[in-house]
C-alpha cells in the first residue's frame, strides 16, 4: 500500500523536509523533529519518500529475495544485538534497531519503508539517527560522525570518540550564537572543489548533569526542551541551518595541556576516514567518494586538532574555539 502524501502544512514532520542534503517527502503520520524545510537547494533533485508500512510490504519484499542478504553492519552491547544492517541488491538496506523497529531503504535511497516498534512512541528518532544518514550516503553524500555548528557562515565540525565532549561543545557554541547543524551527524557534499555541509536533525542532547548546571537563559538559547531519556535532555532548535561551506573539521584529542587548536598539515587520512559515519555502504562509488571527500578536507587545510583537557568547562572551550575558528576559517 502506498500512503498518500499530500504535503499539507501542519504538524511537525509533515510534508517536504530536508536532512543530510536530501529532500524528503514524509508520511504525515511520521514526525521527525528538527528537520529543515526543503528549499529546493538540496543536492539531490528527487525526494526520498519516508512512509509507514501498513500491510506487511517490507516483509514481502524481504522474503521474496532469491539471493541471501549480506550482513553489512551490526552493533552489539555484550551479547545483545542492538543494531544491524543487511543488504540485498534487489531490496536495499534493511536497518533493524532494538526497540525501534525496521526501516527498509531502497537500493537508490529514494524510499524508506518503516515498520516501527509499536511499543516505542519515540521510534522515529531512529530515522534521523541512522536511516537518513544511510539514505544520504546511498544518494551521494558523505556523512561524518560529528557535531556541526555554523559560525560566521561557515560550518565547524567537531569529531571525536564517544564521550569526548562533542555535544557539550556544540551546545556551548549554540549558546554563544552559533546555529546548529546537528549534534551527531553532518553530511558533506563535494561540489566541484568546495565542501558544503548539510544539516541533520537540529536536536541537541545534553547529559542531565550538564543540563542542571545551565541557567534558565542558557537553556532557552538551546531551543525548546522536548524530552529526557537515558540521562539526557533533548533540545530542539528553531530550525536546521541552511547548507554552508565547511570551515573546519576539528578532531578532539584528550590532553593534559591547556585547550589549543592546531592545523594538521599532515593529517592522518585514516583518522578522517574513521570520522565518517556510515560503514554499511561499501559500493565502489561510495568508497571513491569517501576518499575524495577526505582528500579534499586534507588538501584544503580544513583539518585541525582540538586538544581538550578532561572536564574542561565547555563555555570556556567554546570561547577559545569560536575565537580561533574566526581566524582559521577565513
Amino acid at each position: 500500500m502506498t500512503t498518500p502524501l499530500d504535503g499539507r502544512p501542519g504538524a511537525e514532520g509533515e510534508g517536504r523536509r530536508t536532512a543530510f542534503g536530501i529532500a524528503l517527502s514524509i508520511d504525515p503520520r511520521i514526525s521527525i523533529p528538527g528537520l529543515g524545510q526543503s528549499t529546493g537547494s538540496d543536492t539531490a533533485d528527487r525526494e526520498s519518500q519516508i512512509r509507514l508500512d501498513d500491510d506487511g510490504e517490507l516483509d514481502r519484499r524481504w522474503q521474496a529475495l532469491t539471493a541471501a542478504p549480506t550482513r553489512a553492519r551490526e552493533l552489539r552491547f555484550g551479547e545483545t544485538l542492538l543494531l544491524s544492517v543487511d543488504f540485498a541488491e534487489a531490496a536495499g538496506y534493511l536497518l533493524w534497531t532494538r526497540d525501534f523497529g525496521r526501516v527498509l531503504i531502497s537500493p537508490d535511497g529514494l524510499e524508506l519503508l518503516c515498520e516501527p516498534d509499536p511499543a516505542n512512541e519515540d521510534w522515529a528518532s531512529i530515522l534521523a539517527a541512522q536511516a537518513l544518514p544511510l539514505a544520504a550516503t546511498i544518494r551521494g553524500l558523505e556523512v561524518f560522525h560529528a557535531s556541526g555548528i555554523v559560525l560566521e557562515d561557515r560550518a565547524l565540525l567537531i569529531s571525536g570518540p564517544p564521550g569526548a565532549g562533542k555535544s557539550s561543545l556544540a551546545a556551548a557554541l549554540v549558546r554563544a550564537g552559533g546555529r546548529l547543524l546537528s549534534d551527531d551527524a553532518v553530511a558533506l557534499q563535494l561540489d566541484t572543489d568546495e565542501l558544503i555541509a548539510h544539516a541533520g536533525a537540529a536536536m541537541l542532547q545534553l547529559r542531565d548533569v550538564e543540563d542542571r548546571r545551565l541557567s534558565e537563559g542558557e537553556r532557552i538559547a538551546l531551543g525548546r526542551p522536548t524530552s529526557s531519556s537515558e540521562g539526557k535532555r533533548r533540545y530542539l532548535s528553531d530550525g536546521a541551518a541552511d547548507p554552508v561551506p565547511l570551515g573546519g573539521l576539528f578532531l578532539i584529542e584528550r590532553s593534559a595541556a591547556e585547550p589549543a587548536i592546531e592545523r594538521l598539515e599532515a593529517v592522518d587520512p585514516f583518522a578522517l576516514i574513521a570520522s565518517t559515519f556510515n560503514l554499511s555502504v561499501r559500493t565502489p562509488a561510495r568508497l571513491r567518494r569517501q576518499l575524495d571527500v577526505v582528500s579534499a578536507i586534507a588538501s584544503h587545510g580544513l583539518a585541525y586538532r582540538l586538544r581538550v583537557q578532561p572536564g574542561v568547562d565547555a563555555t570556556r572551550l567554546a570561547a577559545i574555539v569560536q575565537a580561533q575558528f574566526a581566524v582559521v576559517s577565513r
Binding site: 593529517v267 587520512p269 585514516f270 561499501r282 565502489p284 568508497l287 576518499l291 575524495d292 582528500s295
Partner: protein, 102 residues
C-alpha cells in the same frame, strides 16, 4: 605475477587496475581497492614510487629518475622498487600491463 624474475619485472609495465584508486596526503598515500573495500597506506617514498611506476613505460625505467631524486645509487633504488612492486602485485593494487586480470 609474483613468479616473475627480477629482470622480467623490471621489463614489465606496471599500472593500476581500474578498481584501484589512490590519493596523496602530506605524510601518506592511501591506496583503495574498490573491489575489496580495503585501504592501504604507503609512506611518502613508497607513494612517490607508485607515482613513478604509473608514469614509467617499465618498472626499470622508473629507477634512474627515482635515484636522481633521492640521491641514491640505482642498485639500492632498484632493490627497494622491486620489493614494493612485488608487494603491490601480491595485494592486487597494481598489475603488469599484459595481465588480463585487471
Amino acid at each position: 605475477m609474483s613468479q616473475l624474475s627480477d629482470q622480467e619485472l623490471l621489463n614489465a609495465r606496471a599500472r593500476l587496475p581500474q578498481h584501484v584508486v589512490h590519493r596523496s596526503f602530506v605524510a601518506e598515500t592511501v591506496v583503495l581497492n574498490l573491489r575489496t573495500g580495503k585501504y592501504h597506506g604507503l609512506n611518502p617514498t613508497a607513494g612517490r614510487m607508485l607515482d613513478a611506476l604509473e608514469a614509467s613505460p617499465t618498472v626499470g625505467a622508473a629507477v634512474p629518475e627515482l635515484a636522481g631524486e633521492y640521491g641514491l645509487e640505482q642498485e639500492r633504488i632498484q632493490s627497494d622498487l622491486l620489493t614494493l612492486t612485488r608487494g603491490l602485485l601480491e595485494r592486487g593494487l597494481i598489475v603488469t600491463a599484459d595481465d588480463d586480470a585487471a
